[in-house]
Symmetry: C2
Subunit: 387 residues, 2 copies
């Protein structure tokens, strides 16, 4: 296997893009990534695009061919990959494998979702397709309610309070304030979170990531070739994916994301580092409980301790590790298929030392954890500066 | 790159499965493939599943995780890949790359679609998502009408008649009669095809593949390891994918599928053979014109000559090459995501010499061509006996 590096990154603003469709969003991110790499498009050998539900959101499938066409990349193969909210990271992993193996030299990995054209009820129904339709969604178990079960289970097990989770939302909005592509650049207070309406008790509106439009893209090549394009390639040290039962009711423990632990263990082994080496991590806070479970399964905090991190300042600047410098899904927004690539975008920016006012000092290793469904797919990617 | 072989194959009956969902169909094919390989499920390292539109057909996305779960494969990564009607072959190609590169040792590639739960009008609308939604489908251009434009263009250019195309349907039904998994095991006459109603002139009902449910799966491993499971592995000699414009109106020539020619040229080069070596081919006759364009772009017949093949008996047993021994999409059925894997299933069976009454004599090389949309994605796979 060859060493793989990222040489270009691009992203759109996350939020409501009334004037743009999937095509325009994906093109903007793709073109920015190609420009950032200082690359000519003809040099790209293949592409992977993560997208969950353009078929349901916009009656548009076949995004691989569509984006190859409109990015001017024909006739190279571009493949759409879907793994619910983890579609972006899974697409990235395929691109990584294609380069690591030597099958392709320069590969673009993108993610896109356009969600705001439909009403919230329809969007919620479409997103429920990430779980088990027959055994969960059809019974009325939407994603807020599935995560509410996990949050309730966690609270009962460890004595965490709703306030503990509210601190996660407050922190992530505070981070997002400095993020130019974030959907929400406003701070929120603990009181605002606590007073926001329940979506599915104990989860409140302000525990929840929003419905978003957006796209992100990155360009990968072998580390050897990377220096032709940039003096500062960021290396992909590991990429690992694991699965768990699709239905929440089949899990052994609702307060823990086993697939994340499995993927993380493999990823640390591949990168030959431990959780203590990681300076910053982008994790999947679709709901605040998601961040808490992630930082435990990733080994940053002990089981049953993760809920204290935001409250105590351990997971922000000046703490133990910076979790979600981008503002996470809560602050930056969550255009489903784009999220996994956005996580990688932010880490690359940080490791390049180009994150401006939100720069994590001496950032050397960064980790991204993108989760699909209620934890049925989990992908862990570790990036590092090259020495 | 390692040499890759297929060691197990499985398929469901194609047709209307009122009593089965995606899950049951995929499991049946997957379990048959695992059993055929004489494998224990735990030995599988990864999976890829091709599916076009389970999100729209059944409100079920995240098929990778769902199938990993229900096939008992957790926690290995299983990835859903989508490229419209070429989803199956693209999934196969990812599995091939994963094994060839040495990243994974034993990989399952499957395809599934469950289409018959909805009315024809809704299914047609969902399938239109394979084209350009904004510039084709929204204007009323369904897939029969797009292929009608190609057929009309071909007829004008080469003087082919509707009857020439009808012979393709007659041949493929005749082939399907001997195929145990085929949806239509009845012969049809030239008169029946010619007298069937127009769907989109000049395409008639009996020029068109049906709406189908079904699944297929194959198991891949390195050629070295293959002999631990079978004395007769079938080698994957080439796998190539190319793209063209997603919208038909952007093509230079409507009577030709350029992406197929590009993919085929690469595939022949990789396999180090020429079209004359191929004994049988499974091609994408979603409509009869599809088969005619495919056998030209694949180099079996000269441009402008392909329409004569079925009429003259060149593309059946005793002719130049057997095209669609499975009955093709027309005879065997077209559960979209499963079709690309079914093509490979049939070729493996033929190359093993186990195709019974439909056995192509001395079959040594077989080719599969799976097409997405009106030709925006085309995948060519070449399989061969191992000497």
């Amino acid at each position: 296997m060859r060493r793989v590096a990222i040489i270009g990154i691009g992203i759109t603003k996350f939020g409501e893009h009334w004037d743009k469709g999937i095509r325009e969003l994906a093109l903007e991110a793709g073109i920015k990534a190609i420009a950032d790499a200082g690359l000519e498009g003809e040099k790209i050998d293949a592409g992977y695009v993560g997208n969950m539900a353009a078929g349901s959101f916009a009656l548009q499938e076949h995004l691989g061919a569509m984006l190859a066409d409109h990015l001017g990349l024909n006739p190279i193969p571009v493949v759409k990959v879907e793994a619910a909210c983890a579609s972006g990271a899974v697409a990235f992993r395929q691109a990584y494998m294609a380069v690591a193996s030597g099958i392709h030299d320069i590969v673009v990995a993108g993610g896109v979702e356009k969600m705001t054209d439909l009403d919230t009820e329809t969007v919620t129904k479409i997103l429920s397709a990430a779980g088990d339709q027959e055994w969960e969604a059809f019974q009325g178990a939407t994603f807020p309610s599935l995560y509410a079960l996990m949050m309730r289970s966690y609270m009962l097990k460890y004595g965490a309070t709703e306030e503990d989770f509210a601190y996660v939302a407050v922190k992530n909005h505070r981070h997002a304030k400095n993020v130019e592509y974030a959907q929400f650049r406003n701070e929120i207070t603990l009181e605002q979170v606590m007073e926001s309406k329940y979506v599915a008790e104990p989860i409140k509106v302000l525990d929840s990531s929003p419905i978003s439009d957006g796209a992100a893209a990155v360009i990968l090549t072998s580390l050897d070739q990377a220096y032709s394009y940039t003096s500062e390639p960021i290396e992909v040290l590991a990429s690992s994916q694991a699965t768990d039962t699709i239905a929440l009711h089949d899990r052994e423990d609702l307060s823990y994301v086993k697939a994340t632990e499995i993927a993380a263990t493999k990823a640390y082994k591949q990168a030959n580092i431990t959780p203590t080496h990681i300076d910053l991590a982008e994790v999947h806070d679709a709901f605040t409980i998601g961040e808490v479970m992630a930082i435990e399964a990733l080994g940053f905090f002990e089981r049953g301790e993760g809920y204290k991190a935001a409250r105590e300042g351990w997971s922000t600047y000046g703490g133990k590790i910076v979790i979600n410098p981008s503002g996470g899904l809560k602050g930056a927004g969550h255009p489903v298929g784009a999220t996994g690539i956005k996580q990688i975008y932010e880490i690359v920016l940080q490791l390049r030392g180009k994150a401006g006012s939100r720069q994590v000092k001496n950032a050397t290793y960064g980790l991204a954890n993108n989760v699909g469904g209620s934890g049925a797919t989990s992908v862990v990617t570790i990036l590092g500066k090259v020495y």
